[in-house]
Subunit: 204 residues, 2 copies
Amino acid sequence: MRISELSTQAGVPVATIKYYLREKLLPEGERTSPTQASYGVAHVQRLGVIRALVDAGVGIAGVRKVVGVLEEPPANPYDLLGAANAAVTPVVAADIDLSAATALLERMGGDAEKCFPDQVAAVAHALAALDRAGFTVPERVMDAYLVHLSAIAEAELAATPDRSIEDAVRYVVLGTALVEPLILALRRVGEQVAASRRFGPSGG
Amino acid sequence: MRISELSTQAGVPVATIKYYLREKLLPEGERTSPTQASYGVAHVQRLGVIRALVDAGVGIAGVRKVVGVLEEPPANPYDLLGAANAAVTPVVAADIDLSAATALLERMGGDAEKCFPDQVAAVAHALAALDRAGFTVPERVMDAYLVHLSAIAEAELAATPDRSIEDAVRYVVLGTALVEPLILALRRVGEQVAASRRFGPSGG
């Protein structure tokens, strides 16, 4: 198909597609004349991934990393997960006290030294922000986070497709970044459902 | 204390404190002379809340809403939760198909009509972004999200402090917005722990 049809099918303006081509986020189409190229289903899919990441707030540098993982997926599944995670994880300053984060990880059954440093640092940063606000997560609530987020992670991992490496990368990358808004939205709705159950629908 | 000491205690520059005063996010201090005012512990706490929200990516308009809730908390706990949630929830376009989101809510034991529209719309937007990316959450994984996020929400609600309305507002507002980075970070770490358990630490 021509670029105009690709634009229609993917719902992405032609100028934006050209920008992605220049940035090498999207592979070149097959040249059919000096001024025209032909695009296929793979381009539509790739545009879907790019737009979804951009919509989820991932910057161009992050999109570039995801595209890199999609184009050259690592062979070991654990490294694959790490590369995919890293691609969509903002780099945070690592000069932070990791002890509280490390202790939480141990309670999840993990080992901070075997985890990717950015992920442990992200936990430490989240804890530090709560501290700065003078907010303490009640112990029973923290227990609930550790138990139920571990269970979610196990379910996600168990469902990783093993048909092809492309499928697995796609699942991990998109599942990590794009599912986050869903998880947060479901938690907030869940809080309302719980509140409505406890306090009745509305006062006024 | 003077503004300079407030600045030191709260770790916020004097110029920023003056900006918050002008924006009425921070109440005026007690005048001690035409050019000086005295600040107390309440100012330190309020600055902690403001900085934490700003650090968590909440804009000034959102901070203003949270401050409004803190200063005039609604009487009904359910409305309180809604106001607090709304204060830290970005407004999303509501012209979106809510049917899939409504169905998920029912599976959580909730009723979309009793939930705040922005929250239901947020679920719908998250689902639409996944759709656009061509990503389907496997059914068993979606089940895990619904079950475990409901359990997290119940635990959070059960721990809402009832000593004072200020405590409850503070808990709900900060607990909603500030805990999100922790939840996302713990999920990602949880995925690594699960992957390491399944595939061994690293290949290379």
